[in-house]
Amino acid sequence: MNIENYISSGIIEQYVMGLCSAEEKNELELLRHKDAVLNKAIINFEIEFEQRMMRNAFLPGVQTDDKILASLQALGTPVVSINTNTKKTTKFSWVKIAAAASVLLFAVSAFFNYTQYEKNKAQAAELAAKNNLPQSLPVANYSILKDPNITPVAMMGVGYHAICRCTMFWDKKTGKAYVMIHHLVPSGDNNEYQLWANVNGKQVSVGMINDAIRDRFIEVSGVPEGSKEFIVTMEKNGGATVPDADVVLKGTV
């Protein structure tokens, strides 16, 4: 399939506006996870459509506002049991569950990284010998996983990119970081992923990430001191000076 023709066929507009048949919808959702250009084209039209609708917004009356806000507030009011024999009614906290799940996911991810390394050590050494991959970490340095000076940062997919995952191991002493890709949509020939550090509210480019490298750490250097958060965006080859608004991955230190 020629993806450019597919993108310009009108299917994206049809999908975003909810006018696809079930088959068309399934096909597009399958393809978008395999093709970053298509995925980006969909997101671009979603943003364009949203902006178009926001520009032409007009407001209901104040009485309607009050009525709807009151009804939403009523929905959110916890029901307190009047039976004094029962335990205190507590609201189910999805945030806490999500936080616990994130910690668990990260622990599993870190464990997976390590065991995966041990398992593929010989294979990785062979690969490293075959392919000259300057960005990827020499096998001998995989011991970073055990280094107590390393700060691990779980990089989670943002919005549409929820399926994407990376783990970054930041050595604050040396300013180096080692990125392990778990899943990234292929960036294609004209684009590549760029890592950014948030320093005092400013996004500073740390370097490019070659998404073709798997099962090995990608080494980046010059990670700024005091970075509070890292993001990954997809940019045109060579990188950008400011990150694209469409953040693919985000991780907080």
């Binding site: 507009e13 049809q14 975003v16 032409n56 007009f58």
Partner: protein
């Protein structure tokens, strides 16, 4: 003094899933205008439009766990929810009985595209742009977007092959998008 919370789409969705009141207020204040303008493209009666807007936000509260961010932005989901809720309302018996000029017996197959009650609705927005398209594009978009017809239903209603429906629909949307700029 309380400090206003600023949300990114991710933090807003997380807070909505936690049924946080402040998040729903933020959602309402931020999106009510855009969603209301969608509803009023379908429904001229202000009172009914207001009720539909309320139904939409209650539906968000009840169904937020069904929102899947891997399949679309929050607004795209809100748009679909709003459009579906509105179409369901216009298809209800109560709504039809309230429309003085509505003489449609069989809503699915005998729709009059120039139905008089639709002349009163908000035509400032998207629908006006749809009406600027050539006739065959306008007709498929009216049936598809504004009446929720499937492609098969459109083919039957207009007595044209389904392949033609697909082609016209996609071309119509490409033309419509050009007017967004």
């Amino acid at each position: 003094m309380s400090q206003a919370i600023t949300y990114t789409e991710d933090t807003l969705v997380a807070a909505l899933r936690n049924h946080n009141n402040d998040a729903y207020k933020h959602l309402y204040v931020h999106y009510r205008g855009a969603l209301y303008s969608i509803i009023t493209q379908f429904i001229a009666d202000t009172e009914i439009a207001n009720d539909v807007l309320q139904d939409v936000f209650v539906a968000v509260w009840k169904n937020i766990d069904k929102y899947d961010e891997t399949k679309g932005r929050l607004f795209t989901w809100l748009h679909t929810l709003t459009r579906n809720t509105t179409i369901n309302t216009t298809r209800s018996k109560n709504y039809k009985s309230q429309q003085k000029n509505d003489t449609i017996e069989d809503f699915v197959y005998t729709l009059d595209l120039n139905d008089t009650h639709q002349q009163n609705i908000n035509t400032i927005g998207l629908r006006k742009q749809v009406h600027l398209l050539r006739e065959d594009y306008k007709n498929v978009l009216e049936l598809s977007y504004y009446n929720g017809f499937t492609q098969e239903e459109i083919a039957k209603a207009l007595d044209i092959p389904i392949g033609t429906v697909k082609t016209r629909l996609r071309n119509a949307l490409i033309e419509l998008r050009k007017q967004f700029v």
